[in-house]
C-alpha cells in the first residue's frame, strides 16, 4: 500500500491532481482511492488531498495520517505550514519550485525532489504567471519520481478529466515527467 498527500491552495486544482493520478493508476489495474481533505476549501487557503494505492481491494476507509510521500503544488506553502507532518521517515517530497532540493531544511530526513511545474504550466499557457494551473504538470513529475503508473496512462487520464486544453495539459505533464 502506498499513501500520498498533496498540498496546494484552494482554487489550484489540488483535488483534481490527486484524482487524475488515481485515474492513471487505476488504468494499470491497481486499486486506488483518492480523496480531498474533509473540510471547507476557500480560495487561497491551504488545502490537502490524498491518494491510497494497493494491488488488492482497499477496505480501509479511514484517513491517511502517515503518508509515504508528499507532493507540494505551491512553493509558498513550504514556509506557511508544516508539509512534513506525519510523513514517514525517508519519504519522498516533490515540490513545485525553481529552487534546488538542498535548499530545503528537511532535506536530510526526506528525499526531496523539485520540479518547476509553474514554469512548465506557463510555457504551455495553462493559466498565467499570477495564477498558473500547475496541477496536471505536477502529476507528470509524480509519475516519474514514484513510478506508480505509465506516462501514457497519465496522459489518457488527463485527456478524460480535463475539458479545457487537454492536450496542452498532457504536454505539460510530459515535460514535467522529463524534467523531474
Amino acid at each position: 500500500m502506498v499513501e500520498i498527500r498533496f498540498h496546494g491552495r484552494g482554487g489550484q486544482g489540488t483535488v483534481v491532481a490527486s484524482k487524475v493520478l488515481a485515474d492513471a493508476i487505476a488504468k494499470e489495474g491497481n486499486w486506488v482511492q483518492a480523496y480531498p481533505e474533509f473540510g471547507v476549501e476557500r480560495r487561497g487557503s491551504p488545502v490537502v488531498a490524498f491518494i491510497r494505492i494497493d494491488d488488492k481491494r482497499i477496505y480501509d476507509k479511514s484517513r491517511i495520517y502517515a503518508p509515504d510521500h508528499v507532493v507540494v503544488l505551491d512553493p509558498t506553502l513550504v514556509e506557511a505550514i508544516d508539509i512534513t507532518e506525519g510523513l514517514k521517515e525517508g519519504g519522498t517530497i516533490i515540490i513545485n519550485t525553481d529552487r534546488k532540493p538542498d535548499e530545503f531544511p528537511f532535506r536530510g530526513r526526506f528525499d526531496v525532489r523539485t520540479v518547476h511545474a509553474t514554469e512548465i504550466a506557463v510555457k504551455h499557457k495553462l493559466g498565467n504567471l499570477a495564477a498558473p494551473i500547475v496541477n496536471t504538470a505536477i502529476t507528470g513529475a509524480v509519475v516519474k519520481v514514484l513510478g506508480l503508473t505509465k506516462l501514457e496512462s497519465l496522459a489518457q487520464a488527463i485527456r478524460e478529466a480535463i475539458a479545457i486544453k487537454p492536450e496542452d495539459n498532457v504536454k505539460a505533464a510530459q515535460e514535467a515527467y522529463e524534467r523531474a
Binding site: 486506488v32 483518492a34 480523496y35 477496505y59 476507509k61
Partner: protein, 384 residues
C-alpha cells in the same frame, strides 16, 4: 466500463442508468456533486429527465412524490439538514406508496454546523417507512440505486441509498459502470398500476377514518416484510447479469468468528481491515456489515449472530436517551433467541471523528476482556 469516480457521482450514474425521469433536487454539502452532474446530464441530454431546481428539500420531496404518483421514475439526493427538512414528506412518500429513490449522504446534524459524517440524519428517519441501504463503496452505491428502483417499484415503497460524507461521497474509487442496455434489461420502465391521470380519475390520499387507515398501514408493513426476500432475489439476478452480488448483509469471515463486529457504512469496510489484523494476532474476529436496515433483516441477523460467541455492535449514531441504534435493534432482534451471544454496544465516530482499524482493535480488546456488557454504552474515542 471502469471509471474512477467519486461516491456522489456513483449516485448520479445510478440515477442516469436507471433512467430517472424527474429529478427535483436542492444542493447541500456534501451532496452537491450529485445534482451538479445530474443537471449537467440533463442539460446535455445524456439523460432525458426533467431537472427541477426547487427552492428547498421539502419541495424536492413533494415534487418527487407527485411526479411518482403521475407515473414517472423520480430521484433526488440530499443530506442531513435537507433530509430532516423532508421528514414530513418522507412519511408521505411511504404512506402514499410512491417508490421514490433518494440518495442520502450521511452527515451529522446541526447544531453546531457539521458537514462531516455520522448516521444520525438517516437513522432518525428509520420510522418513516423507507427502505434504507447503507453503502461501503462507490460500486455499491451505483448498484444499490438500480436495485433500489427494482425492489421499490415492485413493492411500491420508497428507498434511500446512503453513503458517508467525504469518506465515500468525495472519495474517488474504481467503479464498473454497467452498460445501459443491460441495466434496461434488469430494470424495466416504471409502470404503476394506479397513477394520477384524467384517464382514470381517482383522489389520492383523502381523509381516511379509523375504519380504513389501519388496514392501509398494515399493507405497507406486509409489503415491507416481503422486501428481505426480494432484496436477496434481486441481488442474485443482478449478479447473474453484472457479476456482483449484494444482499441484506455482507459477511466477512463470520463463519468461525469468536468476536463478530456489527458495522455499517464505510466503517463497515474498515472493520474488515481490523478483522485481518486481529486474525494475524490469533483472534478469530469477523465482521457482519449491515447493508439493509429497513426492512430489518431479522432472520439473517439471528442466523449469523446466533452462532457467534460475542458481538460488538459499532454505532456511528445514537438515539439520545437510549443506545446506539444498531445496538438497540440487534439486541431487539436477538431477544429470545436461544444461545444468543453477549452483545456489546459501542458508539464512535460522531460528527466525522475518524474510525480507523485501530478503533476496531480497541473495541475488540474491550469486548474480549469482559464476559458481557457492563455499561449501557461504551464510548470509543471521545475525549473525556
Amino acid at each position: 466500463m471502469k471509471k474512477v469516480i467519486m461516491g456522489n457521482h456513483a449516485l448520479s450514474y445510478g440515477a442516469m442508468l436507471s433512467r430517472a425521469q424527474v429529478i427535483p433536487a436542492y444542493p447541500i454539502t456534501p451532496q452537491t456533486q450529485v445534482v451538479e452532474l445530474l443537471s449537467e446530464m440533463c442539460a446535455s441530454k445524456t439523460l432525458d429527465a426533467k431537472f427541477i431546481k426547487v427552492e428547498s428539500e421539502h419541495s424536492a420531496m413533494a415534487s418527487c412524490i407527485s411526479a411518482s404518483a403521475a407515473g414517472a421514475r423520480t430521484f433526488t439526493a440530499t443530506s442531513a439538514q435537507g433530509l430532516a427538512l423532508m421528514h414530513e414528506m418522507l412519511h408521505w412518500a411511504s404512506g402514499g406508496r410512491h417508490p421514490v429513490v433518494l440518495g442520502n449522504i450521511n452527515r451529522a446534524m446541526a447544531p453546531g454546523w457539521s458537514i462531516w459524517t455520522d448516521q444520525n440524519d438517516s437513522l432518525s428517519e428509520r420510522d418513516t417507512g423507507w427502505m434504507q441501504f447503507y453503502c461501503s463503496s462507490n460500486q455499491e452505491v451505483l448498484d444499490s440505486v438500480i436495485q433500489a428502483y427494482k425492489v421499490g417499484e415492485a413493492l411500491m415503497i420508497p428507498a434511500m441509498v446512503i453513503l458517508d460524507a467525504f469518506a465515500l461521497s468525495h472519495t474517488y474509487e474504481v467503479v464498473e459502470i454497467p452498460e445501459q442496455d443491460k441495466v434496461d434489461a434488469f430494470l424495466p420502465p416504471f409502470k404503476p398500476e394506479i397513477r394520477l391521470t384524467p384517464d382514470d380519475p381517482h383522489a389520492f390520499g383523502g381523509l381516511t377514518g379509523p375504519e380504513h387507515y389501519f388496514e392501509l398501514r398494515y399493507k405497507l408493513q406486509k409489503d415491507m416484510e416481503k422486501a428481505p426476500a426480494l432484496i436477496e432475489g434481486t441481488g442474485l439476478e443482478f449478479e447473474r447479469l453484472f457479476g456482483r452480488r449484494l444482499g441484506l448483509v455482507d459477511e466477512y469471515k463470520c463463519g468461525d468468528a469468536d468476536l463478530l463486529f456489527v458495522s455499517s457504512g464505510t466503517a463497515g469496510y474498515t472493520a474488515n481491515v481490523a478483522v485481518d489484523l486481529l486474525r494475524d494476532e490469533g483472534i478469530k474476529a469477523g465482521n457482519l456489515r449491515m447493508r439493509v436496515v429497513r426492512p430489518f433483516p431479522f432472520e439473517t441477523v439471528r442466523r449469523i449472530l446466533g452462532k457467534a460467541k460475542k458481538a460488538a455492535v459499532v454505532d456511528r449514531n445514537i438515539s439520545y436517551g437510549h443506545h446506539g441504534i444498531f445496538y438497540q435493534e440487534v439486541k431487539s432482534a436477538l431477544y429470545g433467541v436461544k444461545k444468543a451471544p453477549p452483545v456489546f454496544g459501542y458508539i464512535t465516530g460522531l460528527g466525522g471523528r475518524d474510525i480507523t482499524p485501530d478503533t476496531f482493535k480497541e473495541i475488540a480488546a474491550h469486548a474480549l476482556a469482559k464476559d458481557g456488557p457492563d455499561e449501557e454504552i461504551v464510548w470509543i474515542g471521545v475525549k473525556r
